[in-house]
């Protein structure tokens, strides 16, 4: 199987600080890759240098698009990059306020992605929006309500619907369960798991919650101080941690 995303020796520094140091990994279609590590370990910088237009110092990011074209993400024109982020890619942020337009209705939030790709039929847009609201288990009656009237979990699911409407292949998630309580987290994770499987999505999932990666991620990268210290199958890494830091991380997890 050909890989979807290929990151080679990606390095990004902020002055003297190496936020990402020689990061190399591959992502295959339908795979969920978890990235864990403490705050400041470079997880979000890594995500942004792949998914957003953050300038990197060196390294390569290769993405194979829907038409099977091999794209060097750091060399394609900005217009093409922005188009990718609006069609084949999706971003789910920790804070829904960053991923949603709070001053327009839930329906409009989903509609925007379709409008961006040139759909100009109101009725069809409504239908699509309703369909994806159902998929993320939001009552379609709430379509014309503002996102700020939604609960945290619903806002997160709305973000997901907004991203999924253009049928993306690769989704970046930055702590998607961050501000949610445990039962809502569990529901969101459950939903994510079935969506990922049914839609054959590839996901890069940044989190510091080992429970989340245990449930969702097929493979796991452990980052510390900008470098990958350990990688492998999730269960292997978590059950048999090799690196000192991973051992610490696993043993620090609260078990009720």
């Amino acid at each position: 199987m050909k890989s979807l995303l290929n990151v080679t020796k990606l390095t990004k520094t902020y002055g003297n600080i190496k936020a990402c140091n020689n990061i190399t990994f591959e992502l295959y279609p339908g795979q969920v890759l978890g990235i864990v590590g403490e705050s400041g370990s470079g997880k979000s910088t890594l995500l942004n240098s792949i998914g957003n237009n953050l300038l990197i110092d060196s390294g390569e990011v290769i993405y194979v698009n829907q038409k099977n074209q091999v794209l060097n993400i750091k060399q394609i024109p900005e217009s093409q990059h922005r188009k990718l982020t609006k069609t084949e890619w999706g971003f789910v942020r920790q804070n829904p306020r960053d991923g949603l337009r709070m001053n327009v209705t839930a329906g409009a939030n989903i509609a925007e992605r379709l409008l961006d790709v040139g759909v100009r039929h109101y009725g069809n847009i409504r239908q699509e929006a309703a369909y994806w609201l159902e998929q993320v288990e939001i009552d379609t009656n709430r379509m014309d309500d503002f996102p700020h009237t939604f609960s945290g979990g619903m806002q997160q699911r709305l973000q997901l619907a907004r991203v999924l409407v253009t049928k993306p292949r690769l989704i970046f998630m930055d702590e998607p369960t961050g501000g949610l309580d445990v039962s809502v987290q569990a529901r969101l994770l459950d939903l994510l798991r079935s969506l990922v499987r049914n839609l054959n999505l590839s996901v890069i999932l940044v989190t510091h919650d080992l429970g989340v990666v245990r449930l969702l991620a097929h493979r796991l990268l452990v980052m510390k101080n900008g470098s990958i210290v350990e990688s492998g199958l999730t269960d292997r890494v978590l059950d048999d941690p090799q690196h000192f830091y991973t051992q610490q991380l696993v043993s620090a997890t609260l078990v009720p």
Binding site: R101, T105, A111, E112, D116, V117, R120, D144
Partner: protein, 295 residues
Amino acid sequence: MTQTKSTNNQPNASTESGFNFAYLDEQTKRSLRRAILKAVAIPGHQIPFSSREMPMSYGWGTGGIQVTASVIGKPDTLKVIDQGADDTTNAVNIRRFFAKVCGINTTEKTSEATLIQTRHRIPETPLKEGQTIVYQVPMPEPLFVIEPSRTEAAKMHALEEYGSMYVKLYEDITNFGHIATAYDYPVMVNERYLMKPSPIPRFDNPKMNNNPALQLFGAGREKRIYAVPPYTKVKSLDFQDYPFNIEKWDNKACKFCGSTDSYLDEVVTDNQGTRMWICSDTDYCHHQQKSGIDS
């Protein structure tokens, strides 16, 4: 530095002494003309210019007046309208201003004018080749409601990313069942640039399409000039299942001239709530009345 003087721009006896022709100095006018040429070359694209202090406050047409001043010449006949009327404060003052500093002829008749400065309306009488219409623009950036950052908005223009502009129309239909934007209705110019047509009613939007006259837009406070050259495609944004349409006044006609196809203003005439509808375009209304008497 060389002094630019053209012979037909010499002030005559009727003009106020101590001012250059059309108030602005020649260098300023030239810099504005450069911006205008650029604007005409890229229809709908906003060109920055160094807006000058004018003898009136922002919001009263400082952009339009500067554009007018830079294109006006001795042989021009100027018409100024404000909300369609020739006799309102803004229109009267700007007309008198140019009469004073240029000594040019002014008119209230659309057909006789070579240069028309307007606020919030396009005349009902169709414009002709050779005429120039100058719009006063308060806010030139159509993406402003969606994207507060000018840098990002410029990028969106450059990459033709106008999808989010439709979010507003989507919200209109969702809330009101139809597109409720009544004025400053966004348009696509020459199938490339998204443009704000200044706060004209959407009734006037179709008049911009393929218009034989040159259309110039000046925003004084925001320091932007843009243009629609003659015979350029101007299309109002809409949805396939909610096509663009203009305002209609069911069974209403102008009280004075009886017109049913012009833009009508609703006027409350007493404390009992009696209303009448009259043409917003005074010149058109007079013309209609006159031709009604003649026939």
